[in-house]
């Protein structure tokens, strides 16, 4: 077959087809979002299940309180449902809900009068490691615990960027979408947060 053959109708149909095919795999949440908008509770439940861990994780990192993190997560999902008609489904659903969660957490943090004194206690037993295995010895657990504790002493801005990048393994572009800032600023924020954490860890080390 001649490669230079021009078939305008076939080409247009192929272009439309490829456009539709490209869209399908990159927007896995779209069908559930559209169904949830029409009032399908199962579709919204599927959406909640798919992002609940990330949402609750971010809330807990920011608030350092299980009860408040659970409450804020619920509120974030409710707000997402109430504003589902405003959501642009070309944007990842999880990032949208994470941005709502973050805003709610920051509002709550602003309302708090005493931030530092109430934070450390609940985190010690709450946050698990990425590798839960028998080989994971007591020393490693202790190290992780001191790392978690050092993290709780950082500012909310530092905690969120560290949690999103290292714990949730988000890209700088995704983090920028959640935080509503330029992607180019994320690496600098990460370096600064990590340096603060390193200093905390260094001062905490027994001499």
């Amino acid at each position: 077959m001649n490669a230079l053959t021009f078939d305008p109708i076939g080409d247009i149909a192929q272009a439309i087809g490829s456009l539709m095919a490209e869209e399908a795999p990159t927007l896995p949440w779209k069908a559930d979002v559209l169904a949830a908008r029409r009032g399908d509770p199962n579709a919204f439940e599927a959406l909640v299940r798919s992002v609940q861990r990330a949402v609750y994780g971010l809330a807990l990192r920011l608030l350092n309180s299980e009860a408040e993190a659970a409450e804020v997560s619920q509120e974030a999902f409710l707000r997402a449902y109430q504003n589902l008609h405003r959501y642009d489904e070309s944007r990842p659903f999880d990032l949208w809900v994470m941005a709502i969660t973050r805003n709610l957490c920051l509002d709550l943090l602003r309302r708090r009068t005493k931030m530092r004194t109430e934070e450390l206690e609940p985190m010690k037993e709450v946050l698990p490691s990425g590798e839960i295995s028998l080989e994971d010895g007591a020393i490693a657990r202790q190290e992780r615990q001191s790392l978690e504790e050092a993290m709780t002493t950082l500012s909310a801005e530092d905690r969120e960027v560290l949690a999103l990048y290292y714990v949730q393994k988000r890209t700088t572009k995704e983090i920028a979408q959640i935080l509503g800032c330029a992607p180019g600023t994320i690496m600098a924020r990460l370096f600064r947060a990590r340096e603060k954490l390193r200093k905390k860890m260094t001062t905490e080390e027994p001499t």
């Binding site: 109708i9 247009i12 559209l34 439940e45 659970a70 619920q74 109430q82 990590r194």
Partner: protein, 167 residues
């Protein structure tokens, strides 16, 4: 090399990302900078091992219980739109009724539309007739392409359902 000559850490990290730079060259020969970089590498390794905690098992059920009391998002948009529509219509009609001049202008505009519309339709029909008699083939091809593209678009719209955010 003394610590005073060590570069700013942020510069060092920026060059570390880029993979080259004078600060990085310095760090390769400076014990202090090398130690800081090693600390960061180790810290990154430890940070990557952390994981998000599991949410409370009741979280989804609690969310869905609260969602159950809410109106569906589509209906919510409809209810928000109706008052705006009613208010706009009310204001428009009110202005029209209370203003005799506007009412007479509206009547004149409607009459002119009927008269001009007849002439416009006749002109369009004769134009289409002339176009068809001189270039029937290309016109038919364009119409077919237009139909295919429109049907494809329609199919996509129907398949995806309504999108209130774009309405």
């Amino acid at each position: 090399m003394t610590p005073n000559q060590c570069p700013d850490l942020e510069v060092l990290f920026t060059e570390l990302e880029a993979g080259e730079g004078s600060a990085l060259d310095h760090a390769a020969t400076c014990a202090l900078c090398s130690a800081v970089l090693e600390d960061h590498r180790q810290l990154e390794k430890d940070l990557y091992r952390l994981a998000d905690p599991l949410p409370p098992p009741t979280l989804v059920a609690n969310v869905m219980a609260r969602v159950a009391t809410e109106p569906t998002p589509l209906r919510r948009e409809l209810w928000a739109g109706i008052p705006i529509l009613v208010a706009s219509l009310g204001v428009g009609l009110g202005l029209l009724i209370t203003n005799d001049q506007a009412l007479s202008q509206l009547g004149a505009a409607l009459a002119a539309l009927v008269m001009d519309g007849k002439g416009l339709l006749q002109g369009l029909a004769s134009g289409a007739n002339a176009l068809w008699s001189t270039a029937a083939g290309p016109v038919a091809a364009i119409l077919i392409i237009l139909l295919i593209v429109s049907l494809s678009g329609l199919k996509r719209l129907v398949g995806d359902g309504p999108n209130p955010s774009q309405a």
